[in-house]
Amino acid sequence: MNTDELQKFINECKLDGNKICVEKNLHETLDFLLNNYSFDMLKSITCIDLSNGQFELIYNLYSTENEEDAVISIKITHEAESIADLFESAKADENEIYDMFGIKFIGNENLKRLYMPEDWDGYPLRKDYIQDDTRLAWNDNNSNNA
C-alpha cells in the first residue's frame, strides 16, 4: 500500500476508546506511523487471552518529538507479524509474549523460553493453562467455586 492508501486505511479503522483497532497490515501501519508521524518509541506490547481462541495485542506507541501517545490493537489467533525490524525493543516484548502466551511472531527468529525453563510445557498466562484446580479463578469452568 502507498502512503495515501495507508492513511485511508488507518482513518477507517474502528476506535475502541482511544485504541485504534486494525484488522490486518499491522507492520505496515506501525511503519507508517513511525515514518510519517514520528511515533518512534514502542513503550510496550500487551497480550490478552480473550478466551475464545483469540488473543489481543496492544501496542503502546509514543512520539518523543510531539509528546503524543498512540495505541494500536489487533486481534489474532496464534500468529502475528513481528515488528522487531522497526523497533529493537519489540524483540524483548515479543519474546515475553511467546514465553507466556505461545504466540509465534513471524519474522522474529529469536523466540525462546524466557522466564520458563526450556523444557516447560504450556504457556502460563493463557486462560486454559490449569484446568483441574477448582480454587483458581482464572479457570472459567470453575469460577463459581472460587
Binding site: 476508546g17 485504541k19 518512534d40 518509541m41 514502542l42 513503550k43 510496550s44 500487551t46 497480550c47 490478552i48 487471552d49 496492544i58 503502546n60 518523543t64 509528546e67 523497533f87 529493537e88 525493543s89 524483540k91 524483548a92 515475553e96 507466556m100 524466557l114 522466564y115 520458563m116 502460563p124 498466562l125 483458581l136 479463578a137 482464572w138 472460587a146
Partner: protein, 365 residues
C-alpha cells in the same frame, strides 16, 4: 605447536556480585573484547501477572512492592491510582503531597543505593558506606512511619493507610542531604580513576535509546527530554524541571542521578509546605473488600527510578482483574545489553551494565 585463534564463552553470573541479583550474561569473548552478549533472565520470576488474576485488588496490593524492592512505593502508587481512576476517585491535596513526598524520598534512597553499588562495581568501596549511611536515614524514617524498611504497603485505594507523621524527620533528611551530595561529588565526580572508567564508556545515542525503549534517567542522560512526571496528575501543583544532560556516557548517567536527587529534594520541600498548610487529610477511602472495577481497560504510567513503569488492567466487572500487565524500565535495559556491550571490553562491561541501574525483580516480575 600452532596457536589458533578461538573465542571464549564466559558466563557472568547468576551469582556474580555485580549483577545486582540474579542475572546471567552469556558473553562471547575474543581476548577481552565482547563479540556477543546474551542475557539469561528468569531466576526471580514469581508470576506477578498470573497471581493478579486470582487475587482481589486488596489482596494483590501488598505484593506489588516486591516488583522493585528498592522503590516499592512506585508500584503501589501505580496500582492504587489505576483503581482510583477506574472508580472515579479524586485525591485531596494533602494525600497528593504525602504521596509525592514519599515517592521522592523513595527515589532518593534508590538512587543513593545505586551510587554506592555502582562505585563498588568500579572498585571503590568507601562511597558505598557513605551512601548507605544517608540511605539508612530514609529507611529509618519509613520504618517509623510504616513499620517497614523496604516494602511499605502504605498507599491504599483512595489515600494512604494513615496520616503522615514525624515531618521534622524528613526536614532533617533534606537539610543534611545537599551537604552530603557535595561530599560525594568531591570524592567521585572528578576523580581521575572514576573518570577513566566512565567517561566515553557505554555511549548511548538518543535515537538508539528511543528505539530500544530505554526510559528514565538513562534516556535523559542521552539528551532526550522525556519525564512522565511532567504530565503526571500528582505533580500538577509542583514546580519541577526534568534533568536532561547531553554527555550520553556512563558518567552522564551518574551525574544525572546526582542531579535527580537534588530535584527530588526540591519536590519534597514543596510537598512539606503543602503538608503544613493543608492540615485535613480528606481521604476518599473505599471499602477494599467490595472493589469491583467496571468493565473496561485501564492504563497508567509513572516515572519510577529505573525508567517509565506502567500498568495495564483489563477488567470484566469482577472483583479480580481479567488481565494485569506491568511494564518495567529494567526489562528493556537488560535486553539493550545485547547490542550495547558488543565491541566493548570485558572490564568496561561491568561499568556499562552498572550504569544502567538494573534491578532483577523488576526484570523478572
Amino acid at each position: 605447536m600452532t596457536i589458533t585463534a578461538t573465542t571464549l564463552k564466559l558466563n557472568l553470573g547468576p551469582q556474580h556480585p555485580s549483577t545486582h541479583g540474579v542475572l546471567r550474561l552469556i558473553l562471547e569473548l575474543d581476548g577481552e573484547k565482547i563479540l556477543s552478549c546474551e542475557p539469561d533472565v528468569g531466576y526471580l520470576h514469581r508470576g506477578m501477572e498470573k497471581m493478579a488474576e486470582n487475587m482481589t485488588y486488596i489482596q494483590y496490593l501488598p505484593t506489588v512492592d516486591r516488583i522493585d524492592y528498592l522503590a516499592g512505593c512506585f508500584y503501589s502508587e501505580l496500582l492504587c491510582r489505576t483503581v482510583e481512576k477506574a472508580l472515579g476517585i479524586e485525591l485531596s491535596l494533602r494525600v497528593k503531597a504525602i504521596r509525592v513526598a514519599l515517592l521522592e524520598l523513595n527515589r532518593i534512597s534508590s538512587h543513593l543505593l545505586w551510587i554506592g553499588a555502582f562505585l563498588m562495581d568500579l572498585g571503590a568501596v568507601s562511597p558505598f558506606f557513605y551512601t548507605m549511611r544517608e540511605r539508612e536515614l530514609i529507611l529509618r524514617y519509613f520504618e517509623k512511619l510504616t513499620g517497614q524498611r523496604m516494602m511499605y504497603n502504605y498507599f491504599i485505594f483512595g489515600g494512604v493507610r494513615k496520616d503522615i507523621e514525624h515531618i521534622d524527620d524528613i526536614e532533617e533528611i533534606i537539610k543534611i542531604l545537599p551537604e552530603k551530595l557535595d561530599d560525594y561529588e568531591k570524592i567521585i565526580t572528578n576523580n581521575p580513576i572514576f573518570l577513566s572508567r566512565t567517561k566515553g564508556k557505554g555511549i548511548i545515542e538518543p535515537h538508539i535509546a528511543i528505539n530500544n525503549a530505554i526510559t528514565g534517567v538513562n534516556l535523559r542522560a542521552s539528551g532526550v527530554n522525556y519525564d512522565v512526571r511532567s504530565n503526571d496528575y500528582l505533580y500538577k501543583n509542583f514546580e519541577f524541571s526534568p534533568v536532561v544532560i547531553n554527555e550520553k556516557d556512563a558518567w552522564a548517567r551518574y551525574k544525572a542521578r546526582i542531579l535527580e536527587i537534588k530535584e527530588s529534594i526540591k519536590l519534597i520541600k514543596q510537598a512539606l509546605e503543602i503538608l503544613k498548610k493543608e492540615q485535613s487529610l480528606n481521604q476518599n477511602l473505599i471499602n477494599p473488600l467490595t472493589i469491583k472495577l467496571p468493565d473496561g481497560e485501564y492504563y497508567h504510567e509513572i516515572e519510577a527510578p529505573r525508567g517509565m513503569a506502567s500498568i495495564y488492567i483489563k477488567s470484566t466487572g469482577l472483583d479480580k482483574p481479567y488481565r494485569l500487565k506491568w511494564r518495567t524500565g529494567s526489562y528493556y535495559s537488560v535486553n539493550f545489553l545485547r547490542s550495547l556491550l558488543v565491541g566493548e571490553y570485558l572490564n568496561d562491561a561491568i561499568a556499562i551494565f552498572g550504569s544502567l541501574d538494573v534491578i532483577l525483580p523488576e526484570v523478572d516480575k
